[in-house]
Symmetry: C2
Subunit: 217 residues, 2 copies
Amino acid sequence: MSARTAATGTITPMDSSHTRRDATRRKLFEAAVTLIAEQGFSSTTVDEIAERAGVAKGTVYYNFASKNVLFEELLRHGIELLASSLQTAADEVTDGGGTRVDALDAMIRAGLEFIARYPALTQLYVAELWRTNRAWQSTLMVVRERAITVVENVLREAVAGGELSEEIDIPLTASALFGMVLVAALDWQSYQPDRSIDDVHAALSRLLQGRVTGRPA
Amino acid sequence: MSARTAATGTITPMDSSHTRRDATRRKLFEAAVTLIAEQGFSSTTVDEIAERAGVAKGTVYYNFASKNVLFEELLRHGIELLASSLQTAADEVTDGGGTRVDALDAMIRAGLEFIARYPALTQLYVAELWRTNRAWQSTLMVVRERAITVVENVLREAVAGGELSEEIDIPLTASALFGMVLVAALDWQSYQPDRSIDDVHAALSRLLQGRVTGRPA
DNA sequence: TAGCTTGAACTGACCAGTCAGTGCAAGGGA
DNA sequence: TCCCTTGCACTGACTGGTCAGTTCAAGCTA
């Protein structure tokens, strides 16, 4: 009974309650995320979302105040999944006696797994995250903060523990690591889908651990 | 007489010819790139583009067959700027007797400068590059190829010359480097605009050269 | 003069959001 | 046991508005 589902992946592997309404909302998230990732927010119509979710258009408006609100709730929902997945990966290593660098490595792995499981959600974040003049700008800032902070915290602990150089710039390094995983994963999915996740992980891990320039450990 | 211009940056610092028509097309590119970066392709109207460019709507259709065609030509135009900028940076170092790793470092710098100069163009690529089911999908594949290849070539030469470990995965490492620069730069512009380009460059450079995990060279 | 631009009017498709009405499960009164 | 009520969840035809793309007579400029 794998939690993983088909190509695009389901957004809500764990569900909270079991009311009829929640099931409908979940179906709508599901439908919206793939459509918006494929076509963008404004060229995705509410009719399409409703049709793919197998409900009537009115139901969309019964459950969400507007198309915008549906999207914002989707963003918040998704980032919670990512942040907790990264946090869990880091905690498991740290609690098991691993180093902070090992934890970073585990987060890279978790990031790749997340993107492989929810490619549509990821694509959607990438398209919106650095856009200016958007209605949901503030939502996105919070969302970004939530994810980046997890990485920054581990970096900070690693510096404090002497594992990483005191000279690294924590916010910028966190961004860079994030971007490295993000773009490598998206490229992998879109343009080199034949590669295994282990290949991708190994390449990124090598970069993190400074084994690209060829000095062995 | 700096080539750099205002906030969004002009797309066409070097122009090829001087006909009246070319000037109009350039104005339209200019207007389209910022509007689309801000709002996305489909919520940007042709009327808006014409207005921002200071031309009549009829002129848009006199110069481009459709809104789609305008956008595709914009993508092709932009990637040429990026690829040649990266190539030039790499060549300058190599021709001047620098190592391939130095060339990579220079490309990081050139990438950051490019993104700082053309943030709207960059945002637009990021939003579209990994999107599926798009009319201009094939245009984008070519465009991505053009940029990634420049990085891959330098990596390959570096491996051949023994500067980089033979074990690195060239396509994946190129993607990762690309993503690292891209995301760090966008984050810098959007969320930490007070930082200097030198700070950002230093942080990325450290990652490239494996000085994050603290082993001095 | 020929190539380019203007601007306004028009068409037809498309789409977010509305709303009067349906279906149905649970409760309660007789 | 049967009927009636309540209200949540859902439905889908409809509305008012928007926008890509067209057309064209007239003006400008190299």
